[in-house]
């Protein structure tokens, strides 16, 4: 197939990957028991809004109430001719609970209402009580570089305190921690991507990256198969890689493990495509033909595989991204680029949710949505430059829906000279921010059942916190985001 320029551009922005280790040992009953005891029968899906999602046009103040949020918002954002302000009338259908601090009424961006088979979008899920909006998530002295700020969120280590974390991510360290009981031969996580996402990087267990399950088969030379060649080839391939895995030299062992795990996954995962398309044809047809729609469908195929106990399928952790949030220009308001992004994500999640609910797995799934930073509160000619803290979302049947955390303070007197909102952990500040690691830690502790004492410091590291450093919180990982 000839490649078009568009594909060339789109596909080549590939950031590279992580480690993959060892063939599956799921036949071992001990491993199975250990797995289910640790995380329960649950799934975690991490969705990255890549490029820096504009938080102010994601969760927007509709009025002032006890503060000045709406007035301030209107001061920063213009209307008409490149203006990106969302008007109260445009926010009428997507209202959510008020800001805990000022009492200002809030609304989701109207794009979140979704469309097509995903009509209703996140708003419907919010009304069902399945969406937690956590406002003002960030870290002090926001770094405005995509790479650096992404790195901070992915490692979960803003101060670089995590001695020995190396080039690993917060989910990766969770997966690799002895307390999770994943062995080097398990495949507990799948990233819908060309490469393993930085937050899943680790050593010690296996994370596979898959674009399309359908294309994930091992490329045997079927042309020359005389009936036994493939089996002979497999034997030799696995023997060679097992020998490398046994090496005391880590760089050799890693290559052996990666080869074996890739081989093993390539045998068990591609079949999920046909299984799902056959068994769940009605839902298969509903997914929007968008990046998020396609990627969530791949995740649905794997979850369906786990739910129906397909052999060697037990991935519980997933990752996907939606790109395009770097809206320096042409951001738009109720319609336009940013609205389209929200619509795409909301529609895809709604269809996915209907699918998962129909499988009976809605109480087992939690989707965590993040972005490397929010955007400049004052718009430029038609968009916004890089900013500081912004909202995160948690979606799930066991998520205790509502609005958490305070809206960042956008009073002109309270912002920095860029102007961006200022992260604050001062306990007497009514606009006190949320440490993004508190959300991560809460998910680990209350959704994945990891003991707090293990999270700290094995997965996350905190500084000494207030009052030693007024910027920081000693996060307790006990945000009330989940139902019992």
């Amino acid at each position: 197939m000839a490649i078009t320029r568009r594909q060339f551009l789109k596909r080549s922005g590939v950031v590279a990957a992580g480690s993959a280790l060892g063939p599956g040992l799921f036949g071992n009953p001990f491993v199975r028991t250990a797995l289910s005891e640790t995380i329960g029968d649950r799934y975690l899906i991490v969705l990255l809004l890549d490029g820096g999602n504009d938080g102010l046009n994601t969760v927007t103040p509709v009025d002032n109430q006890g503060g000045t949020l709406r007035t301030d918002y209107e001061g920063w954002r213009n209307t008409g001719g490149g203006g990106i302000r969302l008007l109260p009338g445009e926010l009428a259908a997507t209202g959510i609970d008020p800001d805990p601090n000022t009492g200002a009424n809030l609304a989701l961006h109207p794009g979140f209402i979704g469309s097509g088979a995903g009509a209703g979008g996140l708003k419907t899920l919010y009304d069902l009580g399945n969406v937690a909006v956590v406002q003002g998530c960030g870290y002090p002295e926001a770094n405005l570089s995509h790479a650096v700020s992404s790195g901070i969120w992915e490692t979960g280590d803003p101060l670089g305190l995590g001695i020995g974390y190396g080039n690993t991510g917060w989910v990766g360290r969770y997966l690799a921690d002895p307390s999770t009981a994943y062995s080097g031969t398990d495949i507990p996580a799948v990233n819908i991507s060309s490469s393993v996402a930085p937050e899943y990087r680790q050593t010690g267990t296996s994370v596979i990256a898959v674009n399309q399950l359908r294309r994930f088969g091992f490329p045997f030379d079927k042309q020359n198969d005389n009936g036994t060649q493939i089996q002979e080839y497999e034997d030799a391939f696995l023997a060679i890689h097992a020998e490398a895995s046994a090496s005391a030299q880590p760089s050799i062992a890693l290559a052996g493990d990666a080869g074996s795990a890739t081989f093993s996954a390539s045998q068990s995962y591609p079949g999920l495509h046909n299984l799902y398309n056959t068994d769940r044809a009605a839902f298969e047809a509903l997914y929007p033909n968008s990046s998020t729609g396609k990627d969530l469908k791949e995740i649905a195929k794997i979850i369906y595989g786990v739910e129906t106990s397909q052999p060697n399928i037990d991935a519980r952790h997933f990752w996907l991204r939606n790109g395009g949030y770097d809206t320096h220009s042409n951001e738009g308001g109720a319609t336009g680029d940013h609205a389209n992004l929200h619509n795409e994500v909301a529609s895809a999640i709604k269809v996915f949710w209907d699918d998962i609910t129909d499988m009976g797995a809605e109480d087992k799934v939690c989707i965590l949505i993040w972005s490397e930073f929010s955007r400049r509160i004052q718009q430029n000619a038609s968009g916004t430059d890089h900013g500081s803290q912004g909202p995160m979302f948690l979606i799930g049947g066991k998520v205790d829906g509502g609005v958490y955390g305070n809206h960042p303070n956008i009073d002109p007197a309270a912002v920095d000279n860029k102007p961006n909102t200022i992260y604050s952990q001062d306990p007497i500040d009514p606009f006190r921010s949320t440490d993004f690691r508190d959300v991560y830690g809460t998910v680990l502790k209350h959704w994945l059942n990891m003991p707090g004492g293990v999270i700290l410091p094995n997965v996350l590291t905190l500084d000494t916190g207030f009052p030693v450093n007024t910027y920081w919180t000693t996060a307790d990982f006990d945000l009330p985001l989940f139902l019992p």
Binding site: A2, L9, S194, H241, A244
Partner: protein, 507 residues
């Protein structure tokens, strides 16, 4: 301990060819063949390799794909020590990473973006053996880089720190030194960025840039921004003097004009770390050793190579590379796999082109299309492997080592190998022309194949046995390689197994 007078073994010679190019080509000119190189000392061989006259870069059209394909073609075709040029330029492209997609998004013209990116590539080529300091100065005013890292948007009233930060963080010093101490402070980034304010792309002279004095930040106009000086301040928490200077260094000694950015570079290149060693020299040498040898070289080796090359005086890349190529560390990864043999993962482009070169397979056309079957576009596979040249993912360049061997990346490598070992038309894979087909035992056939690929010493006895078992399964000796069916089933399969194994994926 070896040195430049140590004679090369054949294994060393293979290591030189592999590391200084893209695989071991099935054919090369006499001087660069393994058996000839093995007659030389390390010093003689290193001199032979670094003694080339850099070749330029001219894409066929103003399309991004044409520029990409042209460079890949160079890497594929270059023989002798010119393959080394491509390998060094690839390193520099990763170091001063600039990608077409982001550039095009900013410039909004494919034609212009390709033109300036090609110009940047020519700058890297011309200077790939020359002074690294001069190269940094050229990159400062490189139009592609100026667009990519926002120098063109850095104005006196709207300062932009993007380039200033990356100049310190990526191109010269690194965030932290080899002891983990920070090399510069935010204030340094701000001041360095002032030097670059007002530099713009000359719309009338293609590829040229100049300083617009009306957009240049001066101390007279902005007294509140302090003196234009960097380093020499005590780090607020770490307690050490940043840069090892006795006092902050002014970069306006020659006045407030064009010279500021060169002066900044001069100061940066005098920066010393918390061991009192030159920070730029260590940063670059460390990275080059990771590229040509393995991840995480030790400090003593880094320092020894800097010292013997005189790099901190001349900044000459040629001398630095030569010293790397005669040092023990360069030959370490070539040793047989063992507990202490560090290896590194071959870059996708190296893996793909090295395989094609070793097998003497010539794909057709721009898309490197393998012929004679329903095969994948090699460039598409390279994308899945995570590496398209001229498209590094960000200014941080590619992520090396284990990042290259994700499952998607590995499957793409496996798919490529399957395709290439089953290709038939045009200049197809013809193993019968690569090895002696009168061989009749499985062990001999396996050894002939691994010899031809230059990796016999990279397989353990058990791995060799697994290959022998594969050849023998369902067959009995004497084997007949003249039998086409047998050959296509076993010999092609044998090649594929070796190419997919860690012996070739790593080096």
């Amino acid at each position: 301990m070896g040195d430049q007078n140590t004679p090369l073994t054949e294994a060393d010679a293979r290591q030189m060819i592999r590391r200084c190019g893209f695989g071991i080509p099935a054919k090369d000119s006499k001087k660069f063949r393994v058996e000839e190189l093995a007659q030389l000392t390390r010093g003689e061989a290193a001199d032979l390799f670094v003694d080339f006259k850099p070749k330029g870069f001219k894409p066929k059209s103003s399309e991004a794909r044409a520029a990409h394909d042209k460079w890949v073609k160079y890497m594929f075709k270059r023989k002798k020590n010119l393959a080394l040029q491509e390998k060094i330029v690839l390193f520099l492209h990763d170091h001063f990473a600039t990608n077409f997609t982001d550039l095009d998004a900013r410039i909004d013209s494919e034609k212009t973006s390709v033109r300036v990116l090609a110009e940047q590539n020519r700058t890297l080529r011309k200077n790939c053996l020359g002074s690294f300091k001069d190269l940094v100065k050229l990159i400062n005013v490189d139009v592609a880089m100026m667009w990519f890292l926002d120098t063109v948007f850095n104005k006196k009233f709207e300062p932009n720190e993007n380039y200033g930060r990356e100049l310190l963080e990526l191109f010269t010093l690194g965030v932290k030194d080899l002891n983990g101490s920070e090399n510069y402070l935010q204030e340094d980034v701000i001041q360095v960025s002032r030097a670059f304010s007002g530099w713009v792309d000359d719309a009338f002279k293609a590829g040229k840039s100049f300083l617009d004095p009306f957009e240049h930040d001066t101390t007279a106009e902005f007294p509140g921004r302090g003196d234009k000086e960097i380093f020499g301040v005590t780090h607020p928490t770490q307690g050490h003097q940043v840069g090892g200077f006795v006092s902050p260094q002014s970069f306006i000694v020659g006045g407030e004009a064009e010279n500021e950015i060169d002066e900044v570079v001069e100061i940066i290149f005098q920066h010393t770390d918390t061991d009192g060693e030159n920070t730029v020299a260590r940063h670059l040498t460390f990275k080059l050793l990771e590229y040509f040898c393995y991840e995480g070289p030790d400090k003593a080796t880094v320092d020894a190579i800097i010292a013997s090359s005189g790099f901190t005086t001349t900044w000459e890349l040629k001398a630095l590379l030569r010293e790397i190529f005669v040092h023990d560390i360069f030959f370490e990864t070539g040793a047989a796999p063992g507990a202490s043999t560090k290896k590194s993962v071959r870059w996708p482009i190296d893996y793909v082109l090295g395989t094609l070169r070793a097998l003497r397979v010539q794909p057709k056309g721009k898309e490197l299309q393998l012929q004679g079957g329903n095969f994948n576009d090699v460039v598409e596979l390279l994308q899945d492997m995570g590496q398209v040249v001229l498209e590094p993912p960000s200014v941080f360049g590619w992520d090396w080592e284990q990042a290259w061997i994700s499952s998607v990346g590995l499957l793409a490598r496996y798919e490529f190998v399957r395709d290439v070992t089953t290709s038939r038309d045009s200049k197809p894979f013809q193993p019968e022309k690569l090895i002696d087909i009168t061989l009749t035992t499985a062990a001999d056939i396996v050894d002939a194949v691994t010899d031809q690929l230059g990796v016999t010493d990279q397989l353990t006895a058990a791995q060799r046995q697994a290959l022998i078992d594969f050849v023998l399964a369902g067959e009995s000796e004497p084997l007949d390689l003249f039998d086409v069916d047998f050959r296509e089933e076993k010999l092609h399969g044998l090649y594929a197994l070796v190419l997919q194994s860690p012996a070739v994926v790593l080096y």
